[in-house]
Amino acid sequence: MFKIIVDFFVPAQNDKSAEYQRRVRLVAYAIVVTMVFALFYVAASWVAGYFTGLSIMLGSWIGYLILLFLLKQGLNVFKVANIFGLIGIISIYGSIYFSGGFESPVLPWLASTPIVLLLIAGKKSGYFWAIVAVLIVLSFGLMDYLGLQFPKAYYESKEDYFTLSCQTGLVLIIFFISIVFENLRVKAFNQVTEQKNALETTLSELKAAQAQLIQSEKMASLGELTAGIAHEIQNPLNFVNNFAEVSNELIDEMKDEMAAGNMQLATEIADDVKQNLDKINHHGKRADSIVKGMLQHSRSSSGVKEPTDINALADEYLRLSYHGLRAKDKSFNVTLKTDFDENIGKLSVVPQDLGRVILNLLTNAFYAVNDKKKLNIEGFEPVVAVSTKKTGNKVEIKVSDNGNGIPQSLLGKIFQPFFTTKPTGEGTGLGLSMSYDIITIGHNGELKVETTEGVGTVFSIHLPV
């Protein structure tokens, strides 16, 4: 019943927030419930012969009805609520005044306005109407104190009946409006919980997607490295093969010398073979460490910091990324410059992570100089430089290029995820943003960029010692 009436008066306001719409329903319910009680009051006043109160209440009933239509027209819900409060308090004031004033059984009804307004229109309205209600009580008290005689316009014989119905009505109206409030609150809370659950699902899906992206970014950079790795492994493998072949020949010679009784010569050859085996071992280990480095790069980061030779790490990735690019693009050529500070010592970092950052900066640097080279500028010699330096309690790793630089308008975006200037499919746009996180969050350091358009770019990693 209530619901049908409320639905009739509640306008469809899809442009308003859910909270606003909840409040409109709440106010509509409060007015409808009040109107029902007003009719009970009219009936009770009739029985008690309180015709003044009856007229006041009928008047307010019409006021409430108009208010409902105003609400339907889309009048602001806070205005409607407070006009509702105003009509209510005026009619209560009138009823009190004409039914014995300070001693009227209607007096407690003053409590209903601030409580109901607090529930339907919020704290501010609640405070306001509480003050108004208290002032009215005080004014009745003062009038009583000053000896003013209030009219008592109901049948004396019906006083108990009148008081009873007033007090019961008060208890019930506050209770009913609170129930409406509670129902709508629970409904709103459930909605929020539902949305929260939906958001949590979305968030976990996003996290999974992010992990996937990080993995594909790693794989993409691994792809860039493979050619370089192949080249880097080729060199030690050549040595392993060559020294093994030579040793084989040497053993034959040694046997000949031994057969001929030249123990002196045989021993010399044996020494050479021994030396060769050391070399084979050395180059085997070299290839091994390159493969390990590759595996380390593709594995998810252990996240464990360990003392790391920063210079060696930077050098390794410089070689790998250079050869990687070189193998992909035969015409690619660049002068590499390194300037390593030998006094850095070992630094506690997550080597895979820092390696990825360096790799990333290098790949970008190579890309930048290669881009500029395509412009065929007279006398342009592409240079990519890596340097390390220890200053105070910080270690700085610099990767610089003499490419085209980064336009000022893009500078603010380069560390944002998914920002890339590369053609679709060439860059994930995650390199620099992940690098930034690795340095700032993972290592408590800073990643800075200085760039001049047309002159070049310097990225510098600052790590605390």
Binding site: H231, Q234, N241, D272, Q275, K330, S331
Partner: protein
């Protein structure tokens, strides 16, 4: 004595050449000197002009590349120009044509086939 200057940034190349050509070195057929960068090679040529008649150089080296070394050598030592053979892991056309354009006498790819290199060297000297 005619010397072969081998230029490569991998230091073990010296041990390898000395062993691969041990018989030729022992018999005095061939003599090798080594430089581990383009810059070192140029410095050696500066001090021992006309000693090295054949230069065997890697292309991919940090600092001065083998191609740059080749350009310097061919420009500086016009008469008689030393024989320069380039060795590289990247046997691509670009590298090859660049080396040839700069006047390289031969172009080998890694891994080096030592028996064919031996043939080539002997052919140049004998």
């Amino acid at each position: 004595m005619e010397k072969i200057l081998v230029v490569d940034d991998e230091r073990d190349i010296q041990t390898l050449f000395e062993q691969r050509f041990r018989k030729e070195i022992k018999s005095g057929e061939l003599e090798f000197v080594f430089a581990f960068s383009g810059e070192d090679a140029l410095a050696y040529m500066e001090n021992h002009e006309s000693e090295a008649v054949l230069i065997l150089s890697d292309i991919n080296m940090p600092g001065m590349s083998g191609l740059e070394l080749l350009r310097h050598l061919k420009k500086k030592y016009e008469k008689p120009p030393p024989i320069v053979m380039m060795i590289t892991a990247y046997g691509d056309n670009e590298n090859y044509s660049q080396a040839m354009q700069l006047g390289a006498d031969d172009f080998l790819t890694k891994p080096v086939d030592f028996s064919s290199l031996k043939e080539k060297l002997k052919a140049k000297f004998v």
